[in-house]
């Protein structure tokens, strides 16, 4: 998952906004596309998007910050999203969360100092028949024990070499 680490390309943001602005409910579409492309919605893109849609900065900022999915900073090279909701709690997600935090040395919403992993909490992945569940980048995993997590982590680290 290659991401633009510069994070901000005003011309590209403008082009995305111009292309989508006529669609009903365009702001969500634009934010999704910006985040898909750059990995985050940089603060500097807010006024550009606002200008295209005739919205104030505050309105755009309000939407960006309302939704858990939108980041205003780049994530690590890998994003681990761990489900912390009830079904996974019933299958040991609380202990798993402790284990994951310990392994990575970061808390939820944080990125490891080498920039390899961002850890995020998520509330239900719809994989409740196979709890506990987590997503690493785009891949969904079920019945993740601490040992299984260590395997998955090792695979990702292996990929980097």
């Amino acid at each position: 998952m290659e991401q633009n680490q510069n994070g901000f390309d005003p011309a590209a943001i403008e082009a995305i906004a111009a292309r989508l602005k006529e669609r009903p409910g365009a702001l969500m579409l634009i934010l999704h596309e910006v985040q898909d492309r750059f990995g985050h919605v940089a603060r500097e893109s807010v006024p550009i998007i606002g200008h295209a849609l005739n919205l104030s900065r505050a309105e755009v900022h309000g939407v960006v910050t309302f939704y858990h999915d939108f980041r205003n900073q780049p994530s690590g090279r890998n994003v681990i999203r761990l489900c912390r909701a009830e079904s996974c709690q019933a299958m040991g997600a609380v202990a798993l969360a402790e284990h994951v935090r310990g392994r990575l040395g970061v808390g939820f919403g944080e990125t490891t100092s080498d920039g390899d992993f961002t850890l995020e909490a998520v509330y239900c992945l719809g994989n409740c028949g196979c709890s506990p569940a987590m997503v690493i980048n785009d891949e969904l995993y079920g019945r993740v024990s601490p040992a299984r997590f260590d395997e998955l982590l090792a695979e990702r680290k292996e990929d980097r070499r």
């Binding site: 909701a85 009830e86 709690q89 998520v122 719809g126 028949g129």
Partner: protein, 522 residues
Amino acid sequence: MSATVYVPRDSSALSLGAGKVAGAIAAEAARRNIDLRVVRNGSRGMFWLEPMVEVLTARGRVAYGPVTPADVAPLFDSGFLTGGEHRLGLGLTEEIAYLKRQERLTFARVGIIDPVSIDDYLAHGGYRGLERALSISAEKIVEEITESGLRGRGGAGFPAGIKWRTTQQASASQKYVVCNADEGDSGTFSDRMIMEGDPFVLIEGMTIAAVCAGATQGYIYLRSEYPHALRTLNEAIGAAYKRGYLGEKIAGSAHTFNLEVRLGAGAYICGEETAMLESLEGKRGMVRYKPPVPAIAGLFGQPTIVNNVVSLATVPVILERGGAFYKDYGMGRSRGTLPIQLAGNVKHPGLVEKAFGVTLRDLVEDYGGGTWSGRPLRAVQVGGPLGAYFPASMLDLPMDYEAFAAKKGIVGHGGIVVFDDTVDLARQARWAFEFCAIESCGKCTPCRIGSTRGAEVLDRISRVARTSDRETTMGLLRDLCDTMTYGSLCALGGLTPLPVLSALRHFPEDFGLSRSDVAWTG
């Protein structure tokens, strides 16, 4: 020889390695020069058997599972392509007790067909509901839905017929049909399984709603946590356009219906219908005041039919076979079937579609097989994070909207999360407040502030020793829960006290309290 093998493309099956199994089967067939067709179907909903592979034989479909890539070569060796015996063999799929005892109306095709093949859908009775809908009046469509007794499967249980009638009778230049696919409740996955396993049934249901209301534009508001559902829906929508089931003159009629999937962005509150409409309009997912109801002033202020995935996916069978047929299932004022989801600490997690009236015990013990851990079952939470926790002694409760309401619980979206005896209900109660605080849209004070204060009050309960202090704290909690229940704008704040109070009522010992301390919870 030529053979057909089914390997699910369902998210849960994929999360357990179904993709690798499908790849291994194709590779092994190539190695053996076998002409093999691998169909990527939806899941049958027996997750302890996933990845479950099926083979088409002269006797019917034979199942094997759970299959790992390492099992693939041995399966070929034992002649699984003709239903040969193997230690993973489960016999004829249709004869597996878990499936055989179900009453699958909404889920009739899930796991059976290729989800993105419109020909497969048509061959299995697809689009018969729409065909009938196009041959009768809009009023008659509403009558069938009303007659069926279908109530909103998203959780609120509001009669679908009333919504439909309201939008159908409203006059406007533009009307909409919106499918709420923001299935955020933990312990639920029936919407996802429909979208990944039989997306055409949802498309057909929405098309019938559009024909009925005179709506020309539809949206499926899908949660971003479901990327596989997104892919499957978009493939199916593309196929429906190509074959004239979407777009102009649908199925040769005079109706136009365009359909598009829109993604949410990880906000639980957007499962609330008015917050969802705001989000579709490109705004923050803030709950709206009602009235006006969305049926009159919904998306972009226009009359809008808003229904959950399962509700809309049930519409085709109702139109095809008639409201009276559907109504025949169920009990009391809960008519038809409910796709129930068994989740959490349960031995046989999965999807069980049954007529209303099936008891929690039937579901958790007979279907579920008890806990996954093998430890005693201590609690079940029914209806998602806003649902009540019930103790093992209450498992004879039937799945019925009114029976649950009488016991201060909700059926919700039909998810059951099982907990064994290691659960701490005081922690679960606190979590209910925490979750509400994380997901509150912030528009109304009881929810925005009450959720945080609630967690603090619960912390205090565990610390107070003196009887008088305990009584004061209980009084505070009672007031707070009353304020949230009666003063919140929507179900998030309004129902958060439900799990909290049920935990106190049924499990006071976890809070260091006695039965008499919590008598006020009723």
